[in-house]
Symmetry: C2
Subunit: 231 residues, 2 copies
Amino acid sequence: MAGELTLLDFWASPFGLRARIALREKGLEFKYVEEDLDNKSPLLLQMNPVYNQIPVLIHNGKPVSESTIIIQYIDEIWRDKTPLLPSDPYERSHARFWADYIDKNIYRVAMGVCVGRGEVQEAAKKELISCLKLLESELGDKTYFGGNTFGLVDVCLIPFYSWFYGIEILAGNLSLKEECGKLVSWAKRCMERESVSNSLPHQQKVYQVLLELKHQHHSRSAHHNPDSLIN
Amino acid sequence: MAGELTLLDFWASPFGLRARIALREKGLEFKYVEEDLDNKSPLLLQMNPVYNQIPVLIHNGKPVSESTIIIQYIDEIWRDKTPLLPSDPYERSHARFWADYIDKNIYRVAMGVCVGRGEVQEAAKKELISCLKLLESELGDKTYFGGNTFGLVDVCLIPFYSWFYGIEILAGNLSLKEECGKLVSWAKRCMERESVSNSLPHQQKVYQVLLELKHQHHSRSAHHNPDSLIN
């Protein structure tokens, strides 16, 4: 028995997508609650008083926050079906290292590409390509980052595939398929999984969100520092 | 049998201290290798090619990086003696949340207090007190963050106690004992453990390091942005 599962989320959030993919990999039913990020619900503020951020997974009334922690929680509670973390402690630490690498870099740098301008954007583009190429070398010739099985690192990274179209358009002259074709092939393999294809929004819809963020950022930063990145 | 354990580290690093405390909690023998951070060893560059940073724990020739991941690795391999993570998955996610909170905030903000000037330093002081008070409310009336047992969150936070003297001096008018007396009492309880007292350096020695960082920062930032924090 899964117990009662509720996910407080926002449809385009790469972090929320991680939780949705992990729940679907386990075949778990959950109540999806869409949050208005400009007017957060009292439930969200109560369940995540430290950050007031989505995603929050509420399991039998108890909240778990931070997407990488949510994935591990789901995997530890429902261990039997499609394990997302390796059973070997060394391999587990290796997966955690790369999940942490993604957490520290991809959102920040991709956002720099999407909302940055001029030199700041150029630097972010170079950094993004360098991060993705490093991830590509970690992937190597494996089917998934988890080897033959789809795992933690795959769940953490694949949501950003829904940003690829927006990143290319907003970056101007950039083809992620040309820069990191192996990673794009990996993403397409992931998209063959129902947990992923049923979760990821259309790339054009995500582009609209990124474009909106870019406009908000520049109307705000006209009054602040024009070169700072959203955070 | 522990196998062969080597720790690449730097004596004053709060992150390295976490690894040392975790190893000592488990009663494990390890070879300690002090790194010169201005001239890192080929071994460090080979073992942590992504970040080139200490600490790295090398276990039977295989490296584990990132202090919070190292602690979890140690706990998963040597589970029997003094478990550092709770056995219940919900409590484990709760401990991971606060360890992550410390990772995201304390080093960055404490560094802001130590090297910042003027308004930047004042803002960092306020933020540091607010972070520590939040941690104090999470501690509540428990002996340790882990309840009756010293655990992951305790290991992650206690190294920063060795900064307290330096923070107070560099901040000017600040008494951490007055601001968060309960947290200072917790730190003193932790210092009664041999794993902690044998690891933490003298606060005056750490102050000299922080002072040196402040001078380096300001001689560098004279050519860059005088208000940016070290990172």
